[in-house]
């Protein structure tokens, strides 16, 4: 699938084909999409995940996770749940990671990068070495970096023809259930499975106007939303028909009937 179409086709899927397993290789591709995303300081060990698979992970663990995400019906249905988390211990190897980036030619001497610079400046500056400063900032940045990876993982699932979506849950319960160490904080849970909804899933979800979100030069001055660009993105499938499509209510009634759920 072309990138623009993947962005435009992604939905938060809320009905999954519970009877249809997800191929392990597809899950692997989703995880790679997250692994290869950008990360502050290339501290990739901050962003981790535990995969829970119906029929493979012990039932007690999967049932425990479903309970921790408030027994939402889509969690019962989706055969795979990826529990994304941040591991604060992943920041500890920041120095050797940066040195590897220098060695690999990613961080260049033209921009002042050297082992001495890493030791004397970067490792002592909390904006770069987050463990040297405020722990709240470190947690905030970790969540941000985790989110970057999850964003890619959502698109990768769409690219693989899968339905996907994020749910939230009781983090401490999840941490204990999955035997995570103290340094780990569960974030959001990505459900993965074949969607039981149509590809359009009722249409692209409501979004605020572009002009209200993105500014040019100063806060509040709209960046401008060129109509020809909008047309190009529509042709490419990134901008799609907005929800609700005319048949959506009937589709939801049919889905509710299929899953034995109230409408």
């Amino acid at each position: 699938m072309e990138f623009k179409r993947a962005v435009g086709t992604r939905r938060t899927t809320r009905y999954y084909q519970a009877w249809r397993p997800v191929e392990k290789e597809k899950v692997q591709k989703i995880l790679h999409a997250a692994r290869l995303q950008s990360h502050h300081g290339n501290a990739q060990e901050v962003r981790k995940a535990v995969v829970i698979t119906k029929g493979e992970t012990p039932d007690a663990v999967r049932d425990g996770l479903i309970d921790a995400v408030y027994n939402q019906p889509q969690a019962h249905q989706a055969p795979v749940a990826i529990v994304w988390c941040t591991d604060m211990a992943g920041w500890e190897p920041l120095r050797p990671t940066l040195l590897k980036l220098i060695e690999s030619g990613s961080l260049t001497s033209s921009y002042g990068w050297s082992e001495e610079f890493v030791d004397s400046v970067v490792m002592k500056t909390p904006d770069f070495n987050v463990l040297a400063g405020d722990v709240e900032f470190a947690k905030w940045l970790s969540a941000f970096e985790c989110g970057l990876g999850v964003g890619s993982a959502l698109l990768a699932a769409t690219d693989e023809g899968l339905g996907t979506g994020l749910v939230t849950g009781r983090r401490e319960q999840i941490r204990e259930l999955l035997k995570m160490p103290e340094s780990v904080i569960p974030t959001q849970i990505q459900l993965v499975g074949y969607s039981a909804e149509s590809t359009e899933a009722g249409g692209q979800r409501p979004r605020p106007d572009f002009e209200d979100l993105y500014f040019d030069g100063t806060w509040g001055t709209s960046y401008g939303n060129d109509e020809s660009v909008v047309a190009e993105l529509s042709d490419a499938g990134m901008i799609q028909a907005a929800a609700p499509l005319p048949h959506r209510k009937a589709e939801l009634r049919a889905l509710a009937g299929m899953f034995g759920l109230p409408e």
């Binding site: 019906p73 019962h76 209510k249 009937a250 009937g257 899953f259 034995g260 109230p262 409408e263």
Partner: protein, 110 residues
Amino acid sequence: MTDTAFHELITVQRYAAHLSDLDTKDRDARLNTIAEFAEFVGRTPDEMIAEIFNEETRKYRKRGFYSDRVKEFSAALDGPRNRQLARGNVIRSFFIANGRRIPPEQPDWI
């Protein structure tokens, strides 16, 4: 309760608005199911909605009671399991339309 009084209840009107895409026969059948359930538990629809949730503590207080009554009510229908489930889900939909949730029964195949 008269039919008119039933239809004038705010909770019934909220649910009816939720059914606006259905034809009259379907809509009436569902509203009739609500009326039957209200009789089954000996409360008006407004009383059911008021009772299940404590506005002061912002917590459910009789969810287990209603969850059990819905199961009993649906099981009393002489018919296949999926029709019983659908009947119970009409009641759950009524609660949802009024901002309250009774957990659904997960089908065995999930």
